[in-house]
Subunit: 445 residues, 2 copies
């Protein structure tokens, strides 16, 4: 029995059963994509609260429509479970679990490790496992491979590329990107062996517009890191230049708009109150951590981290300056943060610099409220417990704050109203000028 | 008499006489552009050897065709001179002089200073002066303006925006770019006053496809720096990642090609043996120098400089490794550097990392030759005096070298021949793999 032929055939026939572990921003859209192409998909998640929601066709992610889930459930193409023993039933296992940092900014591999150990328990011959989580080069080879070669589900050793197949294929989700969705973003794939690569490409080709083959899982792991390191470094660069130009009396936003008119060799990045989201502030440090094993340091990543991490503190310094010109201290001043999602038009708070802003302002005895149309209240996280609810945005409430701190520039905010009613505004996104609202009560940070 | 109206009128009628100071890679094409639009242009240069060449219609820059110069001369639209007293005769003075660094990597403002002082001697009412040289924010306001406000050519003070006009408009030349030429690259313009801006835009609109207005000369100065800082930092970033990935056994070139397939948010930059040319290695330090005046440091620029400057040394380390595997030392080894221009398909040696490579290799007692189809011999510079001529590239000569060090990937090189005849190759541009020439005698640096 040639296992690779059997699996290839199942994929081509769409009779392969797909298991997806981790039903968040990456796993859920991918599961729905496979379901929409008539594969039967089982979604696995350790968060047991998600399971009944999904199985009754309800979404917990703002930009993923419940209808899509409901339709997949109804057609019996998708079901969710927290029973990982069902992993033995699927032909393909796709791992989409988080790879955060711990408090010392080191990779927190718990989710990948635990998931891999569960797979080790249930893996059977003929399965393909792919990892999509962003991680350091070597993860697939060094961490996953030895576990699956020594399955707890069998008495013998498994041979990769013959008994099972293993590949790395980084997710490239960009929530709310109007131009690209899961299926239309080309996907990089690296296999542990030639067979692994072949099966993984066959799989992804059924749902993704284009697969890009690289020579190893390490190259695939590195490619995703490069993409996010590039963003992290370039955002840090404009954040640094923002602070330098500000001292020189030059507006970075004007400078970027001018530089952007160069038709080649330049790409615009914009400053802000700090990095947010689950990728850019985190992923680069996976490489930093791994590099130490090779006696080498990642200076650009460290510097970018340093400068980006400093931005909320810089914003608070600016806020103190603005209050100071009115002879006021930050202590007892009333500050309203407008927009607390990590980027505009999403309901995603992960790593949002606004949380850090609230923390710093609290420590300095300011009175902080917030408004965000997408986030009615701030949930308790591992790091923060603010017990804050979004206020209502009216002329009356706005006028009560000493400063409006514009942190996230959602499209649906009423900037005219904010400007009209505010006493002072500190704008970290240059949104007021972009909306042609210019006045001497608006400052930039 | 309203001087601005007179000058605007002259520009519109194309009866304004244009003076361009500095007839190099920026000034010469710009002069020819104005001449081709029927302006009468006088080109000024302190290099008296250039004057008779130009006046007899001969080019000294590879990508500028002599015919273009000859035709402009013949139509009496262009003439060159080293007699700066003729500056009083022109209506517009455009400064295109070099802004290099001194040996301590500080701005060398000699050319701008001397030029401005000469203009101070001859400036007359009704003239427009624009500066195009890349420089620190504040140069136009702080260095040029006070000189022209106190002309030596008159007994009275001149008022900027009334008696004369002053603007900054950075050059964006990209020699050998097949898609863009002087006239089709949008041009940023900042004026000292509104009148200055108006006249400068009127002028550039006659030859440039589009002018981009900014609020000050400082913003214009900063925009050019941002463009080049962006490039310098991103090249340094891939150079750093090249060294890190190499230690991990990952090929940076493959990783970049994979990352490049992301259809948004990523732009590819490529590693190399070091930075070259008159812009990217130099311009960023103009901001670093100025920033110190404001008690702030430019960490990204410093780090990029550090990493890019290290690259030729890294290449030599790799060269030593390659020789070492054959049990050979660098001392007495015969090394052929192929390509010494700072980038492919140009005859430009300025700041070329190949010069630094030759210097390092000489110091380590290697026997170095070079081949470059565009550079028959290495001219003596302020820094180097090698007395080397390009060898001829044959099977016979190639086979005599221990290592061929590919430094610049000109399109017209015979890579098949090089590969066939070489003993070992160290490729800093990944050109052999890109030409599908793959063998175990090729190494990458």
């Amino acid at each position: 029995m040639d296992l690779i032929k059997v699996l290839l055939d199942k994929i081509q026939q769409k009779s392969a059963k797909i298991g997806i572990i981790g039903l968040g921003y990456v796993g859920l859209p991918l599961a729905l994509e496979f379901a929409s192409k008539n594969f039967e998909v089982i979604g696995f998640d350790i968060d047991s609260e998600k399971i009944p929601l999904l199985n009754s066709g309800r979404s917990y992610i703002h930009h993923i429509d419940s209808k899509k889930i409901f339709s997949a459930i109804e057609k019996k193409k998708f079901s969710a479970t927290d029973d990982f023993s069902l992993l033995g039933e699927v032909d393909v296992i796709i791992i989409c679990v988080p790879t955060p940092l711990n408090e010392n900014r080191e990779p927190d591999m718990t989710y990948i490790k635990n998931t891999s150990e569960v797979i080790q328990k249930y893996i059977r011959k003929g399965q393909l496992v792919t990892l999509e989580s962003t991680t350091y080069p070597g993860t697939t080879d060094e961490l996953l491979l030895p576990l699956f070669e020594n399955p707890k589900s069998a008495d013998e050793k498994f041979i990769v590329g013959e008994d099972f197949f293993l590949a790395f294929s980084p997710e490239r989700e960009d929530p709310n990107n109007p131009d690209y969705t899961t299926s239309t973003i080309p996907k990089v794939v690296g296999g542990v062996t030639e067979n692994c690569l072949e099966v993984a490409c066959e799989l992804y080709n059924t749902v993704i517009t284009k697969t890009i083959v690289v020579s190893s899982t390490r190259a695939a792991e590195a490619s995703k890191l490069l993409e996010n390191i590039y963003r992290s470094v370039n955002i840090a660069l404009v954040n640094e230049l923002k602070m330098i130009f500000d001292k020189m009396g030059i507006d970075i936003w004007e400078v970027i708009e001018a530089a952007k008119t160069k038709p080649f060799g330049f790409n615009a990045f914009y400053p802000g109150p700090g990095l947010g989201g689950h990728c850019i502030p985190i992923d680069p440090f996976y490489l930093s951590w791994k590099a130490k094993e090779f006696d080498i340091s990642t200076k650009f990543i460290e510097l970018a981290g340093e400068i980006n991490t400093y931005q909320p503190y810089y914003v608070v310094e600016k806020l103190i300056d603005v209050l100071n010109t009115n002879g006021r201290s930050l202590k007892d001043s009333k500050i309203l943060i407008v927009g607390i999602a990590y980027k505009k038009n999403v309901d995603d708070l992960r790593e949002s610099p606004s949380l850090k802003l609230i923390e710093i302002l609290n420590k300095k005895y300011a009175k902080v409220d917030y408004y965000d149309p997408y986030i009615p209240e701030i949930p308790k996280t591992r790091k923060y417990d603010f017990d804050l609810k979004s206020i209502s945005l009216t002329e009356n409430t706005l006028s009560k704050y000493d400063v409006i701190l514009l942190s996230t520039d959602h499209d649906n905010l009423d900037y005219e109203l904010i400007h009209r009613s505010a006493n002072l505004i500190l704008d970290t996104r240059n949104i007021f000028e972009r909306k042609n609202i210019i006045s001497d009560k608006i400052f930039k940070a």
